[in-house]
Amino acid sequence: MTEATSARALKPWEDPNAKPFLQIRNVTKKFGAFTAVNDVSLDIYQGELFCLLGGSGCGKSTLLRMLAGFEMPTSGQILIDGEDMSGVPPHKRDTNMMFQSYALFPHMSVEKNIAYGLKRDGVPRAEIATRVTEMLSLVQLDGLAARKPHQLSGGQRQRVALARSLIKRPKLLMLDEPLGALDKKLREETQRELIKIQETLGVTFVVVTHDQEEAMTLSSRLGVMTAGQIVQIGTPHDVYEYPNTRFVADFIGSVNIFEGKIAEDADDHVVIRSGDTASDILVSHGISGVKGQSVAVALRPEKIAIERTLPESLPNRLAATVDDVSYMGNLSVFHVTLPTGKQVKVSQTNRRRSADDAIRAGEAVQIGWDGAASVVVTA
């Protein structure tokens, strides 16, 4: 896919010699007694599309506003391209921001809105005109230059806001919930366009979003935030497949959590004794833990097989009763109950069209998974 060709396949964060473009060092922001951002450190590299993902009030927007200069950190340091940003007001930063509300100037035409930043820099009029025209065609708004914001649709306004924030060729572009106000279909289209534009211009993007699907689709890496802290940073793949906490596992995608204790701890596998399943769960990766420690096994619904009888080669097999089946078209979601009373969510791709022998609610089935399918989280 895009990975092979795009800049983000380079994975600069794995290169120990790479110099981060944006460095956030132990940044804390307090509003009175409330700590909005708590000791966050984060490196973002040139050309990345980094998503800050979290629920409302997790501090992601405050962090973004500190990057833009609308808020100053209570303690800690922010460096952009090696330059310390402490005390630098927003209008003196080479960064731009796309606001959640778009914040288009209602009294100016589309053209004037987009040209605003260049005009402030005293760019010659002829150059402004060419660059605005370029921008308009980049965001596919040719012909709408003379419209006022209130004469545009939501999607068009979003494009004007994007064009306005890109026209100064910022080193760093911050986007606050850039697609939040668009409907689902338009959002998916715009996501792809946003990635394309980002790759064309090579600008570093920092996107704030609460939508995990959006973060997965857009980002080269993402940081999951909660309660003012970043709990996990990684590629969408890493964060989804190897969540480091129950919170991350639960926040991104859906997950089944089995509580238990470490019963056997070897280098290449662990066995977790779980009361939820009334059995031992084999996990074929080593962990850093001690025998008897309380942990949880996180298991994604799509990694669980469900059949009337499963082959004995599967190391983890459990009997279960189907409570209900939701047919979603591309997949079916089964809610099953184990003999212990624990509910488990299983999803299966509908590979075949025929549904004559499909598993129905009330049936006794077996669910099972491979040792590599689950991940142990200690926190």
């Binding site: 833009a68 200069g69 609308f70 007001p89 927003p90 209008h91 930063r93 960064t95 731009n96 921001m97 606001f99 509300s101 914040a103 288009l104 100037f105 209602p106 009294h107 605003y116 930043g117 402030r120 820099d121 209130h150 306005r164 924030s165 100064k168």
Partner: protein, 313 residues
């Protein structure tokens, strides 16, 4: 046709009545202010217009009727002499111009003082905002007349200002502050400041902070942001506030009468003199009608532009 009639017939149930009131409700709501305006504005205006077209007389009332019914003949005599008289005597023209000049200058000063105040109130934290607004409105709790009188005590020869300055040794002789144009400006600006601040505040408080941040983010210094974003977006408040100050200031009588000197020529005083000193009601009425026309014109133009803008939105 027949069916409709029948429907109307059984519509006279409680529900039908309710619907009828519902449909006519709009008319009722509009009728109340319309009746008010007719009774207290339109009728007096017509009476005034009628008097302005009559001839003055030593009688009670002090003017002649404009129509007479005698022996089957209706004699209507419209006297435009009062209006011609206004045009002939430069006193009236000077008074009109003087009023407009003083009102316009006072409006600009009020705007210059009121805008920063409204801006600060609109940007203040929520809980402090209400206190500041209270302070703006607080003077209204005292009679307007008393407050203007209070200024006499402050400005007069042995008033507060002169006493303080003399005791500090800044001046040796009292300054002439009272009965000057300065005192009139001061009185108007002081009295009408809240009328400027309140509409300005209403516009500024609605201003989306994100617009200011967006402007800063795109490289505008705070002052440039003010000129390119805040000021253009507060134009409706500026217009509303300016009208609320300008219109009553043109016809202002009390302030120039109490604080102004003999040189302060304002149409309000002229009007008062014509009515009560000269007892020339027809000329006084003509003065009032002309003033109304002078004031209504700009409002009408403004209304047009405003409604045009709303249609565009």
């Amino acid at each position: 046709m027949g069916r409709r009639g029948k429907r109307r017939g059984d519509g006279m149930t409680a529900r039908g009545l309710f619907e009828w009131v519902g449909a006519k409700g709009r008319a009722f709501v509009v009728a109340a202010p319309l009746a008010w305006l007719t009774l207290f504005f339109l009728l007096p205006f017509v009476v005034l217009a009628k008097i302005s077209l009559s001839e003055s007389a030593i009688a009670r009332p002090p003017y002649l009727p404009i129509w007479e019914w005698a022996e089957g003949v209706l004699n209507v005599s419209l006297n435009f002499g009062n209006y011609l008289f206004l045009a002939e005597d430069p006193l009236y023209l000077m008074a009109y111009l003087g009023s407009l000049k003083i009102a316009a200058a006072a409006t600009v000063i009020t705007l210059l003082i009121g805008y920063p105040m409204a801006y600060v109130i609109a940007r203040a934290p929520q809980h402090r905002r209400n206190i500041l607004l209270m302070l703006v409105v607080l003077p209204f709790w005292t009679s307007f007349l008393l407050r203007v009188y209070a200024w006499i005590g402050i400005l007069k020869g042995n008033g507060v200002i002169n006493n303080v300055l003399m005791s500090m040794g800044v001046i040796n002789e009292p300054l002439v502050l009272l009965q000057t144009d300065f005192a009139v400006y001061l009185g108007i600006v002081y009295s009408y400041l809240p009328f400027m601040i309140l509409p300005l505040y209403a516009t500024l408080v609605k201003l989306d902070e994100a617009l200011l941040e967006a402007s800063a983010d795109l490289g505008a210094r705070p002052f440039v942001t003010f000129l390119t974003v805040t000021l253009p977006l507060s134009v409706p408040g500026i217009i509303a506030g300016s009208l609320l100050v300008f219109i009553p200031a043109v016809g202002e009588f009390v302030i120039p009468a109490l604080l102004g000197g003999p040189d302060t020529l304002m149409i309000g005083s002229v009007l008062w003199n014509e009515f009560f000193s000269n007892r020339d009601w027809p000329v006084a009425s003509a003065v009032a009608i002309v003033m109304l026309v002078v004031l209504v014109m700009p409002i009408a133009i403004l209304q047009r532009t405003q409604s045009g803008k709303e249609e565009a939105n």
